[in-house]
Symmetry: C2
């Protein structure tokens, strides 16, 4: 049985998350029981939701237990199988966690899914053709419900969710405007991802200034917005929403460190008759097949070319994760484990 | 032609609305042209939305023009008619404004509606079987969409919207909890309106304290909330919403004086996957017939016995309106003009 390096959650953050919240240990992978599969992880996905799990505040999910392997999506290859539907060499997607190997009970529905890497690189199943892509799809298609000609916006536009959102919205005939941090990301969002415009929020010291930039980029106002960030960005977008606008709330990264970030003008929800709706994609498994089909086609046809930020080796996971929380990644943040 | 006393908006409020914002004038009602109807108003409705119209801030409606008769719903009796569908003596509902008479172009769709006062007193067409009732109906039925057994809440529970909401929610098998100001109102909400409980927000100095009271009154959490107030009440309710809860936002009275009242924990929209939706009932005329039918039946059968606060005489309108903004009314606020 191979040695397996694992990151455990050792203690909960007081304020900002820190590398010392995690602890690296090495164990031996256990022998397989009937129905189990041993997977060697090729990539680990790092995502903002993990910060929420590190706290024990009330949330939609149970907190990550202390002393256990950090939760996380993984893609990899089956090394050994005692389940009839999986064989060594199969490429699979699962929730293997922050470790190099996982032993999966393959009888559990949805625990392990075989994927085809003919047209879609394996790592993309953690991004554009995985949870982040479906997240963008759900928020856009099921909450924002855009019509052709609508103006739609998204924060963290250069990220895994934002890039998929842009391609999905363009395919529906929308004007798509991104919000991202820094000139490089904004250039990428417009030139490579094909957004109509992108606003660098770092050039704006407050919501009022950002709101003016949004007015220029969205001369007809905003009909739909996908919120990955919260705080100042959400305040500014709210001020530019058209009547009957829809806001899909997927992330409030600015509030993860326990500091509440108020919404300054909630009365705009009333005056503009807005719908503001939070969601988590794992509660909507019924849409995954339809969403993954569209996302796979967009990637296969080159209309969606997601960028990846790849950290090397299991040791690098905590620092890469902290960088993600600070917006240092550029595209989908992964850790390569092979 | 009779003399007609009218309240004009004379100047816009700086901060709180004041009696000096209005000006009383007397004019002669003009001779009727073809298609016009002269109505003598029996009751004028006073409603929180009027405060919004007094400002010229961007909103869903045009601001009330200065120097013109204040907007407002009225019920009354036709005095003279040059329209074939109306005759002297007809009881009618319209938007006659803050004045004793109005001349209505009866060809304009929806400008004037005949009503039957056999089972429903005329004044109720401004309340439970009028705009406030339909407002409660729309928020509950179309946004909150409650199931039997759900716990639903409403702020300003003793008011015209709140009382209708309670009857509509009880008819759907919900546990209904009100929030109101003062022991008298709370007693009325429970004993006369039939709510399961009512919380006196004046006993609570902050959202945390109010949240604890909500926990006691709503042991299974809150599935749906109808917001008439905003501010501390909304903050407290948000902290008790169940996953997938729905909040219909109808009023933000606390913010009308131009002071923004922030929402302290918007991240709860995400963590509890809430839908928060603003609406104004006049944009949903398609539901009025269905809603009015149910509301009329509830009043006719005695299941909804709305209370009215009646000020006497057109002179009393501004003070009654300012009292409404400060929560001094008890039930639907009217001005009796005959």
């Amino acid at each position: 049985m191979p040695a397996n390096r694992q990151w455990l959650l050792d203690n909960r953050p007081q304020g900002e998350a820190e590398a010392s919240n995690f602890k690296l240990v090495t164990t031996q992978t256990p022998a397989l029981a009937d129905g189990q599969v041993l997977v060697r992880h090729h990539y680990l996905s790092l995502d903002p939701y993990m910060r929420g799990r590190m706290s024990d505040a009330k949330s939609y999910a149970q907190p990550q237990p202390l002393g256990e392997v950090m939760i996380g999506g993984t893609v990899g290859e089956v090394v050994e199988s005692r389940h009839p539907k999986f064989a060594a060499g199969d490429k699979v997607v699962g929730m293997g966690g922050w470790q190099e190997f996982s032993v999966v009970d393959a009888n559990q529905p949805g625990a392990l899914r075989k994927v085809d890497t003919t047209h879609v690189p394996l790592s993309h199943y953690l991004g554009a053709v995985g949870m982040p892509g479906v997240t963008a799809w759900y928020g856009l298609v099921k909450i924002i419900e855009p019509k052709a000609g609508d103006t739609v916006t998204v924060s963290a536009a250069a990220g895994a969710v934002g890039s998929a959102y842009g391609a999905l919205a363009k395919a529906r005939g929308c004007r798509v405007v991104g919000i991202a941090g820094g000139k490089d990301k904004c250039d990428y969002v417009v030139k490579e991802l094909g957004f109509d415009a992108c606003i660098d929020y770092k050039l704006h010291k407050d919501a009022g200034s950002l709101s003016k930039a949004l007015k220029e980029a969205c001369p007809k106002g905003i009909d739909g917005h996908f919120e990955n960030v919260g705080g100042m960005v959400l305040d500014a977008v709210l001020s530019r929403m058209n009547a009957h606008g829809r806001i899909a709330v997927c992330g409030m990264i600015a509030g993860y460190d326990g500091q509440p970030v108020p919404m300054t003008y909630p009365q705009l929800i009333l005056t503009n008759r807005l719908k503001v709706q939070g969601f988590i994609v794992s509660e909507h498994m019924e849409v995954w097949p339809e969403a993954l089909q569209e996302l796979g086609a967009l990637v296969g046809s080159g209309k969606l070319r997601p960028r990846e930020s790849v950290a090397q080796g299991i040791e690098a996971a905590p620092e890469a994760f902290l960088g993600l929380l600070r917006g240092k990644n550029f595209g989908k943040q992964l850790v390569k484990l092979v």
